[in-house]
Symmetry: C2
Subunit: 338 residues, 2 copies
Amino acid sequence: MPTIAVDAMGGDFAPEAAVEGVASVSLNTDIQCILVGNERRIQKILESVPYNPENINIVHASDVIGMAEDPHEALRRRRDASLLVACRLVEQGRAAAAISAGNTGAAVLACARHFPMIPGIRKAALASVYPRQIEYPGQDYLALVLDVGATVRCDASELVQFALMGSAYARRVSKVAAPRVGLLNMGREETKGGTVLAEAHRRLRTLSGINFVGNVEGHELATGRADVIVCEGLLGNVVLKLLEGLAEVVVDLTAAAGQRSWRWRAGLALLSSDVGRLRELTNYASYGGAPILGFEHVFIKAHGRSTGQAIANAIKVAAKAARDRVPEEIRAAIAELR
Amino acid sequence: MPTIAVDAMGGDFAPEAAVEGVASVSLNTDIQCILVGNERRIQKILESVPYNPENINIVHASDVIGMAEDPHEALRRRRDASLLVACRLVEQGRAAAAISAGNTGAAVLACARHFPMIPGIRKAALASVYPRQIEYPGQDYLALVLDVGATVRCDASELVQFALMGSAYARRVSKVAAPRVGLLNMGREETKGGTVLAEAHRRLRTLSGINFVGNVEGHELATGRADVIVCEGLLGNVVLKLLEGLAEVVVDLTAAAGQRSWRWRAGLALLSSDVGRLRELTNYASYGGAPILGFEHVFIKAHGRSTGQAIANAIKVAAKAARDRVPEEIRAAIAELR
């Protein structure tokens, strides 16, 4: 199994969540982890949890990039930040992939600085995953949407590349042989959404090696129509945050009502399995993060609110993506395109 | 009270829903309605419900535009369609406003054909309303989002005009003195979202006569941060359909589970008031429709699934918007801009 560099200092619950996640992975898998961050703090947390020392190394980093910091500014000023040190370990071949629950913009920039881009790729993409209804046999319960914020506006060529990258990732990581790829749009008709989307639709439809199911409308994001949803960053970012926001409203409603009323507590107990399906939307712990795609190395961005369990899942996803050579899969798909 | 032209034949439950809605309005208000459509069918439904004949007229229209028809094609071929006849009644001064639950694209085109555009308006906008959390005193429980599909891409000037139109409508119809206007974007910072959104942000911030609260992110759509959310049609359309789709998942889950399990039925009974808040999202009956803005006349587009109660509410909204001179309010705001 590959070695994973883990940014121990990124995320709302760092460094505890990262260290606990690594400790848990060390006991249950053969994955080697390098915890990158404040060595003394990491050591202290490790002393409080069970772990397998044979599977864990620590590399000290003296600085941290805050969640709300301006990414460009942070990368310029904090050269010894844990995120950057983790990426350098991958760059130097000491790790096969990196993960972080920290500042998303900084993670995208760190990849761009330290990882070579796959030949022919025009723009990197930040993906995200979210649970939705399953409609087809073998479908993963998580859908992949990209881009969700590495870009703002995209042209047709960039959208086609996102489709190929997302499809390659889903094939390798979700083990879906022919992931259903959809183009997020304002209507099913192929001419919808202006010239860029119409051109992307036309090219995706005629592309071999991809299972293009056509345009996907907003309401279809909640269904199993597509496994990989392609869009420009502005659209993907708004949609993703809306999904998360609505899920939090559901959780807030049930939590607040649970505190205030015995009726709600009783009702929730009766309903638990189905309310659970709604709550799953905010259960970042079970997702394991999503990739930043377009580079020669694997980087998994875990949610900022990741718990130890979420970090453990992100490490497993990163190890799977590195072991199954997702970047090579993407490189081959892009090479075929040219 | 003004006279409202009602497209009796548009919508999934036409003509029954439209006729029942008009009948109910005729008993409870002084609003005059003209039912436009197949006279015999309308008469037959009227015979089965209580209504006040003094408040209802019928104007025959021999044709209907289907929900799934291509709008351009339909307008070219169906010159006597109920939607077009209703718009002509407004054009001729026989009605003060029109409403329809039919084909949305055809409704936008019908307005463009029969209503003069307000001087200076560059593009008409289709608005929509949805319920969200309330955070400020006096806030309406419905937020207004525009554009949701009359446009695809927009420049900064068009977005600024959408802000002024939406704000004017919310002031008059929701009776909120200074509606909170937000620009849908991928981050709070004023430079986010590319040149068009940054330019729109800069202009909205310096505009007098509008309560601009800044950029609104996806998750904030579920909150009370803004009363009027401004975006280009592609983005608004995807967001609106996603909101509707998720609400339907919630309703489906509760309905399907209710059928299959006594536990769910018992749980739902206990939870009813709070599940009701989620269900409200698909309760189109209570919304009353949303305006097509930019024209000298009022047009209210009701949801395709409108029931009789929804049509009745849409008629009341149309009467209020016409009586309170929403187009004049918009004209004044746009004139000030120039």
